[in-house]
């Protein structure tokens, strides 16, 4: 390394051009050395990107066009997998429908609960830290443990039905009932609403008090202050939680796999558990790859739609300037 020779070596003057023919702007040796170091430093990412991202993606496109059980060589079948997926696989449609149902309820529910709890905690509450901790605690529990816990909580004679019993409600057998298994998974997702709460609360704390003081002088009540000041200020966080929540909901796996295996009668089958079964239980790698691309397109579409509509309701402070 030349650097150790003299301090000036790091910023030398333009050296005599080694190849006068080069028409483009040439970099100084120090700049070139810096660029070399840059690529050296990021080489772990480059290798990882090629080996675990780009390479697999290309392979996945190819697999999705083949019939392959990993034991015999893949046979090319064109778009047959996709055709079958859309025209000849009722389970896939059911799983897709279930996933939409789950996402459509669990994501908004999580946002509303998170926002509501953050709003309550944003008031002058004694023992706020204790409440905040209690509300955040469930999000620290690994999913497997959550699933284990809810297997017991949702049991026909478990605590949830016990609680409902206090109100004279005869609770269903949640995980065993085709009509109630999806709501059960949504209940489980609502348990983790505290993750959004912490974020929203932190943002609410940053809203200048003057906004509220001015609103109060203008005679705005509590509800009006929430909708006119608090809510617009936290829309960027709501938007972020919406995107992450949608992506997470479409990728739900562990809860379904552990709690119901998609049952009863595929009432809780979702896209990723289906994909997993196709790949690792039935070794239909081509078909499973096709499912993964359909999932990707769905997630992409939802993200794009969310971004498109966000202009109408997400409020960024910079727009004021």
């Amino acid at each position: 390394m030349a650097t150790s020779l003299s301090p000036s070596a790091t910023k030398p003057t333009e050296p005599p051009a080694p190849s006068p023919a080069a028409p483009v702007r040439r970099m100084s040796t120090s700049r070139r050395r810096e660029a070399r170091y840059f690529y050296l430093f990021i080489s772990p990412w480059i290798v990882g990107f090629l080996a675990f991202m780009l390479g697999p993606m290309i392979a996945s496109v190819y697999y999705s066009l083949t019939d392959w059980d990993t034991f015999t060589p893949p046979t090319f079948v064109g778009i047959d997998n996709y055709v079958r997926l859309f025209t000849d696989d009722p389970i896939f449609w059911k799983a897709l429908g279930n996933t939409f149902y789950y996402a459509a309820i669990s994501v908004p529910l999580g946002l509303v609960l998170g926002l509501w709890l953050a709003h309550l905690l944003n008031k002058q509450v004694r023992a706020r830290k204790l409440f905040r901790t209690l509300i955040y605690l469930p999000t620290l529990v690994p999913l497997v443990a959550t699933a284990m816990i809810f297997q017991m909580v949702l049991a026909p004679d478990g605590p949830l039905n016990g609680l409902l019993g206090w109100f004279g409600i005869d609770g269903p057998a949640w995980l065993l009932d085709p009509d109630w298994v999806k709501p059960a998974l949504i209940v489980l997702s609502a348990w983790g609403a505290g993750g959004a709460t912490v974020l929203l609360l932190a943002t609410m704390k940053g809203i200048p008090n003057e906004f509220y003081e001015a609103a109060e002088i203008d005679g705005a009540g509590s509800a009006r202050q929430f909708w006119s000041i608090t809510f617009p200020q936290v829309t960027p966080i709501i938007f972020f939680n919406l995107i992450m929540g949608l992506i997470g909901a479409f990728q739900i796996f562990s809860q379904v796999y552990i709690l119901t295996s998609g049952g009863p009668n595929n009432a809780s089958q979702m896209v990723v558990p289906l994909l997993f079964n196709e790949a690792f239980s039935y070794y239909r790698m081509g078909y499973a790859s096709a499912i993964s691309w359909v999932l990707f397109v769905i997630i992409l579409l939802f993200t794009l739609v969310a971004f498109r509509t966000s202009r109408r309701w997400v409020f960024y402070e910079t727009e004021m300037r």
Binding site: W45, M152, V153
Partner: protein
Amino acid sequence: MAITTTPAAVTAQTARAPRDEPEGRGRTLRAFKASPATYAVLLIVSAILFVPFVFVVSIALSSDQTVNTNSFTVIPREFEWGNFVRVFTSDLPMGRFVVNSAVIAFFAVIGQVISSSLVGYAFARLRAPGKNAVFLVVLATMMIPAQITMIPQFILFKELGWVNTFLPLIVPNFFSNAFNIFLVRQFVSRMSSEVDEAAMMDGLGFFGIYRRMILPMMFPILVAIGIFTLTATWGDFMGPLIYLNDESKMPLALGVQYIASTGQALQAPPWNFVMVGSLLLTVPMICVYYLGQKYLYEMNLSGGSAGVK
């Protein structure tokens, strides 16, 4: 896998330690006063959220008798503290599971910390043609669902003979992920560059600057990345499910599910042991969060929503 990290990560990113204004002092806005109704709602919600934890402890402390008759109560009636010892001495390999989880998590954390710090430093400090384009690619990879690469990666690791070893769960961490690179880059970008300029004058090379100047200052962000990686690998279920078949290789997250799914036909699963396992999964995460929250709140990257936008 990346998805599991993200919500927690963002929490840390935006959660500037809330300024707890001294209560009851000065003028309080009408809208900010908590009514008895607010307390009632908070108490009820907290209680509902906390009941599952009490129930878990209750089952973990149940006798085998209670397990066989499936007669659990939410409030503990029995206190079989011996269960916490028995899970390690019985023929269930719970101790093995814990060790496996710890080994996988340890190397995954090391891998992420080293690789993210190198790559993030380069993106924050070094100039090179094509850098912005490469960074866009880094960010774009965050959008690819893990399911797309899951099958080809499985084939790759199978070809390498890595199935049923920890390697598929550890090695990818040494190549860093986009989110962590982004975190480090943001953190380092906000540090003054005078230090490295001075170091360069003194003849330190780029690696020397990274190693002696920047790395020590990165400590908070690296702790945060360590916590995210630890949480993600410790609780990871799908990865081990794909790659590990051998009972003795399973980490705790898979092992607990394995125990719960045994003996379904003839006898009830040992629910008390399963719940001890669930506590072993959960309590370390709560401790890590408690100890690490100082660093998580310190990250404060470019002020809240700006990073999200």
